[in-house]
């Protein structure tokens, strides 16, 4: 299997190189034409507050790596050409007055007119930016959403996950370094209730070997984080929220490569190449990634000890020794863009695999040696998008994929190891056999094979600018089989097969009223889930034992609905509210179990349900002189029932060593997020956010009708107060003219929390507390004058403080990374 994947991989890489080099050769032949189509022009008219043309205004278009300048003429006209796609800050400067806006270039020329708000004659006064950036536009639709722009991260050593972690209301629980499993918490909801999408396609359909760390931030246009209420076009069962990663779609011919190396032998590389034919619309995109880390960072403290032969503790400070991670993959996509029969038509192939050693289970007290997970996936996909299909205003999109994947958990080492990576020995000096059988449980080489096909289609119709209806459907089918290579041959003759199919249809109506002051989006969703199980067994028929197959199936259907409203009090203040009756269907692992993880099957598992509410406001950005300020705050409530959790073992069930998932608790999360952004000129950018929430037990009564002691008590092992502050300062023309130097600082705070129920502060509880965490990172990036090379350096956790996940698992300490980012976009 391994060799097959390597084969696929090498073929892909070869093809990929051919494409890229073929392209460059091709390009040099028609250099002049190519250069024009790769960049775009931004132009427009500038007027003053009285509506008169404004001449001699200096217009500067910039992002962290590039800057373009122009001056308006006597008609107030300005034009900047040669600008690549991307999002830019536009600065309008006339004498003492400065004003900012944002401009997005997305594969075509942009016309952007401005009316300068300098009321008093060039007096410095409060000015409001009235240019809606994509970020601002989405954030003001009414959903509780924050849009993360990745421009800065693209040139730095920031993981996409790290970027999300710093974002307001998002908390990432990662039990270790690169490659360790990630759990996203949005406003107190986590686990499978949060869905991750890439361009609207659920990440889960790509397989576990492809995750957010497989995508370089430089390939990402922006990330939309929807909390609690998820728009209908992401027609999937995302109960607690959705993270939609929007990839860059600027189809100009380019090559971009980045490589980074740093602490713990961490190597990350990305390669991305696009060829866009000038006239035919034909394009080819190829990208690849390879990530590796030894993750051998130091751990110490209360949970890190070697157990001596007599059972006493020997607290040690050691390096993790079974935590290596590698992943690699490639994506190849070819098709047509902007042709008369399609906005985009493409077919693609993605292959990826990963190797991930597992150092410990949920707690870090017992180290593992030799337990690892391997995953591989191959995906074929097809995309078709067309606006104004048949009639104007009717847009259609379709995305289909087929995915074959395999996941193996390998755990066959039957001895006990200590944190120094040595065999544990007893009083006689003999090695101690693992009483669990192997490292986590019984010895296993557990495979799960999954075949997945998924089709999504969407049809929207805009009556005019103010009314839009949409219809979306997703079909997601997964068939799987699991076995254990260590099973006896007899058991292997009785391998069960499982199939799960989800159908989710949604309808949405989006409208704008009162001069766009009121925006409303109402939607309904219809969910269906079918499961089918085949269990082989033995029956005695006519005195002979024969193999028989028994079939079971199970169907559910549910409805959900919601709405998002926003009201613009004035152009600077928007009030946002949204609500949804949301649903999450159980995943295949939750229903069918997982031998490698000791999860038993529960085919009767029902969906989780939640009523989610958000109410908030967004102010600004307001500008006072050279200072710009914006503020966002939002409160939320999540009332969740039938949460899917691992069954707590009680009495007789202890006989089974595995536990299924069950619909169990109800919780209520209440809290708020706030984010303040301050910008001084275009040099200093300060962002402070905080998120406080309580996830409380909402099961109120026991069977006698009495209020349970832990009703309305914070559930254990969940951080509930986090804050983040970051600052960026930019210097221009340092060392070299036309260069740009950025310095970054980030401070992250997580308040202390408990791993047990805390109803009152009785004695002994202090032993179950995860202490406060304060983590500080610094970094700098340098953009060379030609703008095609960026070097950045990051120092994370500079004071080497202990950082923990929810179960006091320690995360990496001080680490340094150096990254080079090289791009060619002018051929």
């Amino acid at each position: 299997m391994k060799s097959a994947s390597s084969y696929i991989w090498s073929v892909l890489f070869c093809f990929f190189s051919v494409v890229v080099f073929g392209q460059t050769a091709n390009n040099s032949g028609e250099k002049a034409g190519q250069a024009i189509s790769a960049t775009y022009t931004v132009s427009g008219y500038l007027k003053d507050h009285n509506g008169y043309s404004s001449a001699n205004v200096e217009v500067v278009l910039s992002n962290t790596s590039e800057e373009f300048k122009a001056t308006s003429n006597y008609s107030g006209y300005y034009e900047i050409s040669g600008v690549p796609s991307g999002s830019y800050i536009i600065e309008l400067r006339k004498e003492n007055h400065v004003e900012y806006g944002e401009v997005i270039i997305n594969g075509e020329d942009v016309v952007q007119n401005f009316q300068i708000k300098n009321k008093g004659d060039y007096e410095l006064s409060e000015v409001l930016l009235n240019v809606e950036s994509v970020k601002s536009e989405i954030e003001k639709k009414g959903f509780a959403v924050n849009v993360i722009e990745t421009e800065e991260a693209a040139v730095r050593n920031i993981q996409t996950n790290e970027l999300l972690n710093r974002s307001v209301g998002v908390k990432i629980r990662q039990g270790g370094g690169l490659g360790s499993s990630v759990d996203y918490n949005l406003n107190g909801m986590s686990g499978n209730s949060i869905q991750i999408f890439i361009d609207g396609i659920p990440l889960s359909s790509y397989g576990s070997s492809f995750d957010l760390s497989s995508i370089s931030p430089s390939m990402i246009e922006r990330i939309d984080v929807y909390k609690g209420v998820v728009p209908a076009e992401l027609a999937f069962d995302a109960l607690g929220g959705a993270i939609n990663v929007i990839l860059r779609d600027d189809f100009r011919t380019q090559i971009n490569a980045s490589v980074s190396y740093g602490s713990f032998n961490t190597f990350q590389s990305n390669f991305n190449a696009v060829y866009q034919a000038e006239n035919s619309g034909f394009f080819v995109k190829a990208s690849g990634f390879y990530n590796h880390s030894d993750n051998d960072y130091e751990v110490w403290g209360r949970n890190v000890y070697n157990i001596l032969p007599n059972g006493k503790y020997d607290y040690v400070k050691v390096k993790r020794f079974n935590d290596e991670y590698s992943s690699r993959g490639g994506i190849l996509e070819a098709g047509f863009k902007k042709v008369n029969w399609a906005d985009k038509f493409s077919v693609g192939y993605t292959a990826s695999d990963s190797y991930n050693e597992i150092q410990h289970g949920a707690y870090m007290t017992i180290p593992y040696k030799g337990r690892f997970m391997e995953a591989e996936a191959g995906i074929v996909n097809l995309t078709y998008e067309k606006s104004d299909l048949f009639i104007k205003g009717l847009d259609f999109n379709f995305h289909g994929l087929y995915n074959e994947r395999k996941r193996t958990i390998n755990d066959t080492v039957t001895w006990t190891y200590n944190w120094s990576g040595e065999l544990s020995r007893d009083r006689k000096g003999d090695p101690i056999p693992s009483q669990r059988g192997a490292q986590q449980g019984a010895p296993t080489i557990a495979n799960i094979y999954r075949d997945i096909y998924s089709f999504r289609g969407g049809l929207t119709y805009s009556f005019n600018n103010n009314h839009k209806i949409g219809l979306h459907h997703v079909l997601y089918n997964i068939s799987r089989e699991q076995n254990d290579e260590l099973w006896n041959g007899i058991r292997k003759n009785f391998i069960e097969t499982r199939e799960l199919e989800k159908n989710i249809s949604s309808f949405s109506y989006e409208s704008r009223w009162f001069n766009d002051k009121l925006k409303a989006n109402v939607f309904g969703k219809y969910y269906q889930q079918k499961t089918r199980q085949m269990d082989p067994g033995v029956e005695t028929i006519d005195g002979e034992e024969v193999r028989v197959e028994e079939y079971f199936s199970n169907n559910f259907d549910y409805t959900g609905y919601g709405m998002a409203l926003s009201y613009l009090v004035n152009s600077g203040i928007a009030i946002l509210g949204s609500a949804e009756k949301a649903l999450r269907l159980p995943t295949d692992n939750e229903i069918f179990g997982d031998v490698g993880e000791n999860v038993a099957e529960n085919s009767g598992l029902e969906p989780e349900q939640s009523n989610n509410y958000n109410l908030g406001f967004k102010i600004g950005p307001y500008k006072i002189g050279e200072h710009s300020v914006s503020l966002y705050a939002s409160g939320f409530l999540r009332d969740t029932r039938g949460m899917i959790v691992r069954e707590p073992q009680m009495t007789l069930n202890d006989a089974q060593q595995t536990a299924p998932f069950v619909n169990l608790r109800g919780t209520e999360s209440k809290g708020f997020d706030a984010e303040l952004n301050y910008i001084f000129k275009d040099n200093l950018n300060l962002l402070v956010n905080l998120s406080k929430f309580n996830t409380r037990m909402s099961t109120k009564y026991d069977s006698n009708g009495k209020v349970l002691f832990n009703y309305n008590v914070q559930i254990p092992s969940e951080p509930f107060f986090t804050a983040n502050a970051s600052a960026r300062y930019s210097f221009k023309n340092v060392f070299q003219k036309e260069s740009l130097l950025n310095i970054y600082y980030n401070y992250a705070f997580v308040d202390s929390f408990y791993n047990v129920w805390v109803v009152n502060k009785r004695s002994g509880l202090e032993n179950s507390m995860v202490p406060e965490q304060h983590i500080r990172d610094v970094g700098l990036s340098y953009v060379f004058p030609k703008k095609n090379l960026i070097v950045s350096f990051d120092a994370n956790n500079i004071f080497n403080k202990q950082a923990y996940d929810n179960f006091a698992v320690q995360k990496p300490g001080r680490a340094f990374y150096l990254k080079l980012n090289y791009s060619i976009n002018k051929f």
Binding site: N303, I307, P309, N310, G311, K312, Y313, Y363, T365, I366, D426, R427, I432, P433, S434, Q435, R436, G437, G441, A442, P443, L486, W487, N488, G489, I490, R491, F494, P536, G537, V538, V645, P648, Q649, M650, T651, L652, A655, Q657, L664, T699, Y701, D702, S703, N704, L708, F709, N710, N755, V756, W757, V759, R762, S763, G764, L765, N767, S768, F807, A808
Partner: protein, 449 residues
């Protein structure tokens, strides 16, 4: 108010009892390992409460301890709120508790969670004052993070934990056996360290193995009268040899089994089989076998098709199959199931049990009501103890009885409701209501120590 009151009482008791309790805790009498506690002397009675996690009665949210004097424990006008005022033992799930015979020391092994398998020893100072002593010892490498252990009745010197790895079907293409590896570890509770350990495979007779039978779990070791053998209870499992999977069909159980090993070497494992009982002999969370004054060991069975039995293991360390005590017959019920029990003396024992016709509890549709019975092992009779029973009475997780002279102390409360300590005279059978136990909805009491 109540808080201050109980604290005050606690402090008074500490001062008054300090000399007595320290005198009791010293092990000066080596020849008679468990000196009979003098019932005229005072002592601590430690109450253990189990906190629920997500479902009432599951006890998975941790364990809370609180100690009161014997006099207070006997006083029906005295009320204790363990959950408000107690000491939370460091254990993710229900702690596995043991105590010294005189109640002056508590021993705990944390069950599950990050410190699962951690043995700790506390000096009982009254109230929520449990003073750690002797340091920590972790047995998880030998017995796992959810260890099954009990102390031996050898003067509170030794604790023994046992475990079996997940039984695996043999390699190859034909079914031969399912086996796990057993481990026994002994803890020197005086010096707080591991004193011995051993691991071995546990083959059953070939015929039984071919049918799929195997030892799935070990639990509740007991030391024999000669002090040279440990007798360890078993929980049996069965594989379907036709498919290699756990046998989901109905099958005939083997006679109850126990594993006998030499003590203190822990060597020479031998399996003994009863022809009287057909259930498991593993108990649940506390003792399941007791050495009586007659030199025999009495062992209860669980999941016994004929209802729970109490089996006799004689001084030759073999089942005495001439002794047949059926709890079903003694109580005139069917499907009796011994959840926890305690031998007192003179053939008298107290047994917590449920049976087929018991009411279902209101908090779980899989759990039935528990009862308490006084059992005479010599006369082979049993009688339900007169207590204020309710369907939510649940003794499955019960761990602690205090035997003090003729008296037995138990906590009795339905899940989520207030209850009492009861003091039962094992000779006369007289039941006296003691201190009131204030409960919280969802929680329950798992014993006195």
């Amino acid at each position: 108010m109540k808080n201050r009151f109980t604290r005050l009482f606690g402090y008074t008791a500490v001062v008054g009892l300090l000399s007595l309790s320290t005198a009791c805790s010293s092990d000066d009498d080596i020849n008679s390992p468990d000196p009979e506690p003098n019932p005229t002397e005072s002592r601590w009675i430690t109450i253990a409460g189990a906190v629920m996690d997500e479902t009432p009665g599951n006890g998975n949210g941790g364990t809370v301890l609180y100690s009161i004097s014997k006099e207070n424990a006997e006083d029906p006008n005295y009320a204790i709120n363990v959950f408000d005022n107690g000491f939370q033992v460091r254990s993710q799930r229900t702690a596995r508790l043991q105590s010294s015979v005189d109640g002056s020391t508590m021993f705990n092994i944390a069950y599950g969670g990050d410190n699962g398998g951690e043995f700790s020893k506390y000096i009982v100072n009254g109230g929520d004052n449990f003073e750690p002593t002797g340091g920590l010892v972790n047995i998880s490498q030998y017995a796992g993070t959810s260890p099954r252990w009990v102390k031996l009745f050898d003067g509170d010197k030794t604790g023994v934990a046992v475990s079996v790895t997940s039984p695996m079907v043999n390699d190859g293409d034909t079914y031969e056996y399912t086996r796990g590896t057993a481990t026994i570890v002994t803890i020197d509770m005086e010096n707080v360290e591991i004193s011995n350990n051993i691991s071995f495979e546990l083959p059953l007779p070939a015929e039984e193995e071919a049918a799929g039978h195997h030892i799935f779990r070990l639990d509740t070791p007991v030391l024999n009268a000669a002090g040279d053998k440990l007798i360890i209870g078993t929980w049996m499992g069965k594989t379907d040899p036709a498919t290699g999977e756990r046998d989901a069909n109905a099958y005939e159980r083997l006679g109850s089994k126990a594993v006998v090993v030499d003590y203190p070497s822990l060597e020479n494992p031998k399996i003994i089989t009863s022809t009287v009982g057909f259930g498991d002999t593993s108990g649940y969370r506390s003792f399941n076998s007791f050495l009586a004054e007659d030199g025999n060991i009495y062992q209860a069975t669980q999941r016994d098709p004929g209802g729970s039995h109490i089996l006799k293991i004689n001084t030759d360390n073999e089942y005495d199959n001439s002794y047949d005590f059926s709890l079903d017959e003694a109580l005139n019920v069917t499907g009796s199931y011994i959840q926890s029990w305690r031998y007192v003396k003179n053939g008298i024992a107290y047994v917590m049990y449920t049976h087929d016709d018991a009411a279902y509890t209101s908090f779980s549709d899989r759990t039935q009501q528990s009862f308490l019975a006084r059992v005479d092992l010599n006369a082979k009779t049993a009688q339900k103890v007169d207590l204020p029973y309710e369907p939510d009475m649940y003794f499955f997780q019960y761990q602690g009885f205090v035997v003090d002279g003729d008296n037995v102390y138990v906590t009795v409360s339905p899940v989520g409701k207030d209850g009492n300590i009861y003091v039962i005279n094992s000779v006369t059978g007289e039941v006296t209501k003691g201190a009131q136990l204030l409960n919280e909805p969802g929680n329950h009491f798992i014993g006195v120590f």
